[in-house]
Symmetry: D2
């Protein structure tokens, strides 16, 4: 497969969409980004790296971090996670407080905000120094010590994150938060404020395509069955209310963030990360979605 050429073609073909969508505005600090940025990085399970555009610039991974925190919690708790969170798509055009209330405080899945808050709570219970240990986990996956939190972004989220404060307190009212609400929120806002490049992000997620093993040392982070399950969750729940659309058009498990990043996995083949800050109305990167649709079309490979 000539990935270099395919990425080149994709870059050309998505150009016509590059004024569509708008930079996410919910976190003021994130609005400072240059909306014209665009990068792709693909890495195969043979360790071949392909990239194009701004693939070495840092961006805020935001909700993409939810896959990593879930995976970290999985290493402690395994299937016990599901006592407090479901595995079903949220499938609701209206916001998750509604659903959380209907379902008595059990979030439908770990990739909507309330689910990620419960995961954050689990990590606080099971680690001594949650932020440091989580950061080390991500650095280990990526094989890079340069991954870090952007503290300005974290505090910008804190200052304007009233809805997340509402969600965390609602979870607490249903006894589905064990620790102090402020501590959970602090961890959560930091987790979302991790910055990566497309290159780092694609490599960080490669173990999901590689049966749970880090490529360079063949060390298992999760076993094959656990990785399969996280991939399946990305497939059904990775794109908020657009998960079906992504599955329909792209046909790969993946996860998006409001920083404009998307990562997708072709099990046993590759991991790919895209970044472009303009989002569609569902909160997913316009060029990222388009690029990945073109990728599976051009390679003729999807999991279906």
């Amino acid at each position: 497969m000539n990935y270099d050429q395919i990425l080149q073609e994709i870059k050309e073909e998505v150009k016509i969409y590059n004024q569509m969508g708008a930079v996410g505005s919910s976190i003021p600090e994130l609005t400072k980004v240059d909306p014209s940025k665009f990068g792709i990085h693909l890495v195969t399970i043979k360790g071949e790296n392909y990239s194009i555009g701004d693939s070495n610039e840092k961006f805020s991974i935001q909700s993409i971090s939810k896959v990593l925190s879930l995976s970290f919690a999985f290493t402690f708790l395994g299937e016990r996670i599901w006592e407090r969170i479901g595995v079903e798509p949220s499938g609701t055009p209206f916001n998750s407080l509604v659903q959380l209330e209907y379902e008595k405080g059990k979030p439908r899945n770990p990739f909507i905000n309330p689910g990620a808050l419960v995961i954050a709570d689990m990590l606080i219970t099971h680690t001594k120094n949650p932020k440091t240990e989580f950061l080390n986990f991500v650095r280990t996956l990526t094989n890079s010590d340069e991954i870090d939190f952007n503290l300005k972004v974290a505090s910008s989220e804190k200052a304007f994150g009233f809805k997340n404060v509402a969600l965390a307190n609602l979870l607490k009212s249903y006894c589905n938060i064990e620790n102090d609400v402020d501590e959970v929120l602090d961890f959560y806002f930091h987790q979302c404020a991790i910055e990566m490049t497309c290159n780092e992000l694609a490599n960080c997620f490669l173990f999901y395509a590689h049966e749970g093993k880090i490529l360079h040392n063949n060390k298992f982070i999760l076993n094959q069955s656990q990785v399969k399950r996280i991939n399946s969750l990305m497939q059904t729940c990775g794109f908020y209310d657009e998960s079906g659309e992504f599955t329909y058009k792209v046909g790969l498990p993946g996860k998006s963030g409001i920083g404009g990043g998307i990562v997708a996995i072709h099990p046993k083949k590759y991991s790919v990360a895209t970044w472009s800050p303009r989002l569609n109305e569902k909160g997913n990167s316009v060029l990222g979605m388009k690029s990945l649709e073109l990728l599976t079309t051009k390679t003729g490979m999807s999991i279906f």
Copy 2:
């Protein structure tokens, strides 16, 4: 892969669950079934057939027919289908009338009842003799003239299907039904009342695993891209409010029916059908779900 032995093992291992769940009671005629029935049939894209138990007994395929009617509509309309129906999982524990009302008469996907009613309406518009032509389509897929409607089941659904009548009229009130409501319902009740054996069902669905081609004559029913898309819909929406659970545990696209049948596809590998009438509280066959979970575990093969 020794499928014969795997099916044998599955049959043994699921025995302990064979008193769990209850036969679906919404259609009186369907309650007459023997709840202890259990069969599996698996057919590979090489044409190898494996079966166990009551795999040659007819049962009512019910909602499984929605995949077939969607596929038939696809042959006429292609992507224009999505002007009137979405591709997102419904993800709601409460019934679909609510959702239909929120979303102004556009069903979230073609596998919930209102979506299937819109598909039925499309087929009526685009065929001269909808019931006959649809039956012929299914017979062609299965390469068997023995497939037929069970008229008693169709009329039992008609007599007690007040909720479907409500849905069809609600769709009509939103102008998302073009034809006469009664005609749409009549087609829909017949479509659901098709009977098949596990053997027939697995072979009927084999073309979804075979890139859109019927195995014995290599004739394309849908192209590769269309088949990929229908498979992805089965993945995200095939099991009502348990689609995430099925994806998480089984990791294959599939579709269930309240007659106790389930069909699942491993793209480029096989198609498999199970039948056991006892349903869990979400309306999916207990033994069927268990069997397919064991199948992907024992073969070590899933799409993720």
Copy 3:
């Protein structure tokens, strides 16, 4: 109280609003009305009649009939009505199918469509000739044989009433309709198609202000306690999602219809009917609401 002068003043003062709102469009036959029509009729429990404008022209009373059918059912069933219907305001901006589904087929009150359909079902069970007997009941209240159904309106509702068909079938699916769905709908569409003038309507409703007695013969239709209860229901549930607004601004129990009529009761004082076909976005007559607000302001009399 100089009601003549007050009605005159009201007519002048509401003129500035007479282009606001639009004639209800859900029933085609009703759109033929002249939107500039406007009338008021007030009758006191001493039998004094005051009127202004088009108070002697017939209009379709529509949902106002729900108070009359409830009262008729009350004469048969008394408090047993509440085994199948609630007495709480619906308080929902979105339509009643949602609520009906949440509450398992028990309508929140008798003045929303599903509640009125259950009342219609009760009347069919308890009468030999429902339409005739109901019409006679209304004629007796009004002391006039000129009250009748408008058959064109009834059949126009039937032809376009898909949402009501949906509601009736949903109720049937919850076993809260005993009779044939079509028969219930036929009665309901006729009931709503009764025509009255403001004069007739005000006189028809006078017994609610007169402790349950028809004025001219002092015959009790309902006892004092029953009338108090129906008045209280009009207060909390009479104006769909604008019941609170009407209570807040007018301070009298009342009921509106999409034909543009409103009737209101001042217990122990008077009954008043208004008619103007232009409706606000909540489905209530703009000039009617305004007129009644002015009436209680100018008379300085409300129940609060």
Copy 4:
């Protein structure tokens, strides 16, 4: 009217229900109350006082305070209040976060928690020392300096009020809270923690029955029109999801609190307060509801 005898009869007749219901458990400090307490105090607009049982014992007025804070806000803002809050009953069996989200942060009425939080926010904006000034307002109405906050109850609410914290943050996320969320909550928790006896409560609310004037000095707190409007709000929204039931059975405007108190108003006649800590499943005092139903039945007087 022989109120002494009527209260005596009521006390006897409600005895059979005195084991029904349970003390509200959401605020731990409130569970310490003796569940067998029961008192009634009625005061007419002529200044005649009637009481029975534990009518001189203090209890936590809780949500009853919402009528007082609304009235205080009315003195500053008049009808401008309704720019940020509605006047419609909430009419929902499920909790108010759902509704708040549907309606984009505008609470349906001032008597549900989010509405009261917005009122609290208004008072903080319009006073220098909100807690002191509100307390003085209540003392003036009651003509007693003995009214005070119970600080233990206020801090117990604070410690367990996660749902209210969630609501306040959700309102803030919709920009319907101007001040600091913690300050709003602190005021709200204090407001609810005011303690009164039945005697004090009935006298405090007497001005709502007396056209807005304090009885002993004839000083207007609100004008006649404003009082009418607050009374109408109590009628439609005073009892959560049981407002219709209370209106239907009692036929007077009123307000309940989870401390077991209820106050009701007969405009131009009397104000009456009851207290009994056992609540029904809707959160309203069982004996209080029963007593007031008997009161309007025995006196033959309701507003309808």
